[in-house]
């Protein structure tokens, strides 16, 4: 029984890592641009479908998997940058509400656009051949691919922390989370910063989508489930906080994985219980500033 819980815990961690990768992009966009990017889930879904196409072209080889992990997020990043540059930037002087609506309109367009290109049926991507097997954790099988996911999540977290702590871009980004107007007054090209952050956020959504593609099936609607969980991560972790997002995504992944053992149907409800608890105790999120 304890071993079952441990295995469940580990798969919760890997689920949490995918959620972290996606939600870290969302929290950066929310922290800097101050808009809940509704189309973040669509970018994730788009990347998962692109991964399907790329791996299919390569016949499910290791090379195809690596190619998809590189190409799909880049495609999505370009798409995200275009959304910011051609749409959001044009209405940046209006209330944020309008930008939110634009991102919502894009979720509708992408959902039907994917249906148009890939059709409405379920797709699946198999594990890359090199990661097909299972590890033995205390005598129980644990998929190798999940280990890769956990490792990738940690690497992304470390890279983001490095960018934020050690680069000029990271410092500007952190400053913009606190006060975007002041950053502009100090001579930073704010529109360019917004496009860069949005593109980075989109890349993270895309990377999460490519990483998640071999787990479970790819279908229309995966955008809706990931976006709600990602919003929960942003609220629990605190807007703009990478460390907060990491902690929150881990909590949600684990709570959900263990919740499935207790009450499978209500597993998603546990997220909201965590959400309410955080709200009551720390409305600004675990590591957020007061709002």
């Amino acid at each position: 029984m304890t071993i079952d819980i441990l295995i469940q815990l580990l798969s919760g961690v890997s689920r949490g890592m995918i959620l972290f990768v996606v939600a870290s992009g969302l929290t950066l966009i929310f922290g800097v641009l101050r808009i809940p990017n509704f189309c973040h889930g669509s970018l994730y879904m788009l990347s998962a479908f692109a991964t399907y196409s790329i791996t299919t072209v390569f016949g499910g080889s290791n090379l195809g998997f690596l190619a998809s992990l590189i190409v799909a997020p880049l495609v999505v990043m370009a798409f995200g940058a275009a959304i910011e540059f051609f749409l959001l930037r044009r209405i940046s002087n209006r209330e944020h509400l309008y930008q939110l609506i634009v991102t919502f309109a894009i979720t509708l367009i992408v959902a039907d656009g994917i249906k148009l290109i890939w059709g409405g049926s379920y797709r699946s991507v198999s594990y890359p051949p090199m990661l097909e097997g299972s590890l033995s954790v205390l005598g129980r099988p644990f998929p190798q691919y999940y280990v890769l996911v956990i490792a990738a999540g940690i690497v992304i977290a470390a890279l983001l922390a490095l960018i934020i702590e050690r680069t000029r871009f990271g410092r500007v980004l952190s400053a913009a989370v606190i006060d975007p107007e002041m950053v502009g007054a100090l001579g930073v090209n704010v529109p360019r910063l917004y496009t860069t952050v949005f593109a980075l956020g989109a890349w993270l959504a895309g990377f999460g989508g490519a990483l998640a593609a071999p787990i479970g099936s790819i279908s229309l609607g995966i955008d809706n489930s990931i976006i709600i969980e990602s919003f929960a991560v942003v609220i629990i972790g605190g807007s703009g906080s990478i460390v907060g997002a990491f902690a929150a995504a881990l909590i949600i992944g684990i709570v959900q994985a263990l919740g499935i053992m207790v009450a499978p149907r209500l597993a998603i409800g546990f997220i909201f219980i965590a959400l309410c608890a955080v709200l009551l105790l720390r409305p600004q999120g675990l590591l957020g500033r007061r709002v």
Binding site: Y98, I268, G269, F272, L280, P283
Partner: protein, 322 residues
Amino acid sequence: MQITAKSLAGFAIVVFILVVSPYLTDESNLFVLMDVLIAILFATSYNLVLGGAGLLSFGHAAYFGLGAYTVALLQAHLGLPMLVGIALSPIVAGVFALLVALLTVRLSGMYFAMLTLAFAQLIYTVIAEWYSFTGGDNGIPITVPDYFFVTAHYFYLTLGIVVGGVLLLWLIGNSPFGAALHAIRENPQRASFVGLNVKLYQVAAFTISGALSGVAGALSGSLHQMAFPSMLYWTESAQPVLMALAGGIHAFFGPAVGAAIFTVLNFFVASYAGYPLLVFGVVVLVLVMALPEGVVGTFRRWLIRRRDAGSRAAPASRDARP
């Protein structure tokens, strides 16, 4: 938002046309018209929060859906008739809205939007997963009494409740309460300095709005003879936001106009376009990018500009402007 003779007259004319419409048109059009009326109540009550209190709620589908489930659950478990359910729907939806408002009004802006969304999803999840009580994904059928099975009868019930609800919202908007909300929307800090309990007003507006959204949902569920979980799904919460924005949130009848446009558009797009979301998304995108003040707001500005152009010859008349 002031009541002018002109807008009252316009309102009376629209209501009159609606009253005689069962004699002018066929049943299928009446069904679309009822959907329009319900959307008008939903969008107008939603706008008490957005245009009225200046809070962006992204979870109103929950209260709409709770209204429908009030009718369905009371019928399925207690055998209460449809009308009792409709009468109780604002209480049930209002209580839930009150609870959510109490937890969320301490945050503002987009944080508030995400929180209302999260709580709406919580309510959705409970309803979608609690099979033994709510029927889960399958939803619960609503039985309509024989009298209201006649389309015209149900039409008049809907019309009466919607007109009543909209009038109530109009009165609220023009009451001291509405004026206080307006002050809070314009400048919450200043409003609190003059002694208004900002949070209390916001909670009250959210609760009233949720309660009347519940009535709209109860009417919708009874019209379609079904309460189903997707009524509460988060994407549905975008509907009143889009309607209010498309019509204009700073004009009382803006959301109503937006509701009419979107419901009719939805109807045509869903019936004739192969990819309805794509068409709908592009329309929303164009509306937002091109008409920032909504249809009513833009039209009003156009009227003012035309009047100004006309009065330039006689500047004295400008002082007479209300």
